[in-house]
Amino acid sequence: MAYDLEFERPLAELDKRIQGLQRKGDRLKADERAQLRSLEQQLEERTRQIYGNLTRWQRVQVARHRDRPYTNDYIKLICDDYFEMRGDRRYGDDRAIQGGMASIDGKTVFILGHQKGRDLKEKTECSFGLTHPEGCRKALRMMREAERFHMPVITFIDTQGASPGLEDEQRGISQAIAENLEVMPRLHTPILSIVIGEGGSGGALAFGVADRILMLENAIYMVASPEAAASILWRDSAFASHAAEAMRITAPDLLELGLIEQIIPEPVGGAHRNHLEMAETLKAAILENLAELERLPMDVLLEKRYQRYRNIGAFATEPVKAGSGSNR
């Protein structure tokens, strides 16, 4: 796998030298063999160092990396059984959202999430992970099924946002998102959301009202994409990196703000370097969190979920001057 992000240039150079030596195979001399070992060690150290000090904008690049594992990759690697459920039973099947009944360590759950698509064909088919109203409604259908059969719901979030097309407006993208936001707080089964890549705006939130929200180490979650925020607040989308810094969109930022519960560490060099290792870490985190959530009585779970959101907000109070405000 190539190192093709801009900040990975030192890694790309080391990698090139390593590959040059490896190509010699059996013809490697003893000193070359030592050199190879040293280069490999350097590569790992440099990767650790660079990935340990990513800026917010660099994290955006990692979260959007084209080799990053997507929802379907995790489903394949985590679940021992899976039946995909399709369609919203109203209009169509939105491939931007995929999911179904699955088994994790022998336990049945509902698992669903955004699918961005790997190659151009798949990307087009699933609208680059931009949710249509049907995706929201399909997810809602699955969540109601999960509730009926007391199966926990696991959602994977990975989208720039909901789809802004004419047909989305015609078929009620706002209504579809809003309905999920109203139903999820009262869903009588545990909900666990994991931001695996990008969490963008309402198209992410519609799948992310949960008992707990976990984020992969290099995932981001934001009210608007850095490009959109930059074009509004800086009047120029070229300032996306500034917007990314200002908006506090990384997992450590959001843990500090109290908006997420846990950060799931990624393999050295990011989740895209080692899908299997990432999936194993993720699976362990899912099982651990589900076990804790399932221990809670339903009324306690729902009250905690409600309070989790009720308490979000940063404001102050100021004494009100007599006569101002009311009864004008």
Partner: protein, 301 residues
């Protein structure tokens, strides 16, 4: 980076109609001395300030509904002297220490507060319409485009909680470009917070009326504005998830002029009625009466 890893979402997604890019009618009206005359942005007619005000800030020639401040909205809708403000002491902070183009959010808030005379974009409280009580929250577009940050979310939630506590209907008047960028994800989460409170209201059997005014878009439209038991809109308002320019950019084609308007959402089954401003108070009174009597007859019957 190879651009195949970049989704094809237009840059302004969700926020092409963000408050900070929408020209403010209030500003252009204020540019004329003492509101003696106002130019209608729709038909360009020069309107005499007094006539225009008497006409509820509606253009007598073309029917264009100008934006109202929260104070004007209260005057229009509620029985005189019945409004009591809730959570008036809440003020915004700068939780992210946000700076854009060398202006801090804190400084921007001070500017906006001085300019509008408001502390935030939402006024909440209780009042009566034709003698029937309700809890309400009104968004004021003048304050950072009615954008929803922590204070707006909290005030709206408190209005819903007041409705729940006193078992009185809740009215939310929306006028907003969506979530406020400067409070980051805290703003987005207000959508979830308000919707969760509305779910409780709904379960308790307390009615919620959503009134959409110009503009209602983004995260506001994609949450509480779309959750009313009854949803009303003023005529000709910009209403939708994405702004029309964003949709056009995304679709790579010119769209019909009424895309994402009140008329568009009515035609697509998203709202119950478009109500002219002069009929608004009477329409709300009718709805309040219908809900009020439903409860009573159920008890008696």
């Amino acid at each position: 980076m190879k651009d195949e890893s970049q989704p094809a979402l237009p840059v302004n997604s969700q926020n092409g109609n963000h408050p900070e890019t929408i020209p403010s009618v209030a500003v252009s009206a204020r540019a004329l001395p003492d509101n003696l005359a106002v130019k209608c942005p729709n038909c360009r007619e020069l309107l005499v300030g007094k006539d225009w005000e008497k006409n509820n800030h509606v253009c007598p020639r073309c029917g264009h509904h100008f934006r109202l401040s929260a104070e004007q909205r209260i005057e229009l809708l509620l029985d005189e002297g019945t409004f009591e403000e809730l959570a008036a002491d809440l003020i915004p902070t700068d939780p992210l220490e946000f700076v854009s183009r060398s202006q801090s959010y804190r400084a921007k808030l001070e500017d906006e507060q001085a300019k509008s005379g408001l502390k935030e974009s939402v006024v909440a409280g209780t009042g009566k319409i034709e003698g029937l009580p309700l809890a309400l929250a009104i968004m004021d577009f003048r304050f950072i485009g009615g954008s929803m940050g922590s204070v707006a979310g909290e005030k709206i939630t408190r209005a819903i909680e007041k409705g729940l506590e006193d078992h009185i209907p809740v009215l939310i008047v929306s006028a907003s470009g969506g979530a406020r960028m400067q409070e980051g994800l805290l703003s987005l989460m207000q959508m979830a917070k308000i919707s969760a409170a509305l779910a409780r209201l709904s379960e308790a059997g307390v009615p919620y009326i959503s009134l959409l005014t110009d503009p209602t878009t983004g995260g506001v439209m994609a949450s509480f504005a779309s959750l009313g038991d009854v949803i009303l809109a003023e005529p000709g308002a910009l209403i939708g998830f994405s702004g029309p320019r964003v949709v056009e950019q995304f679709m790579h084609q010119r769209l019909p002029k009424d895309t994402n308007t009140s008329e568009f959402v009515l035609a697509h089954g998203m709202i119950d009625a478009i109500v002219h401003r002069r009929m608004l108070r009477a329409t709300l009174a009718k709805l309040l009466r219908l809900y009020h009597n439903a409860g009573r007859s159920a008890v008696i019957g």
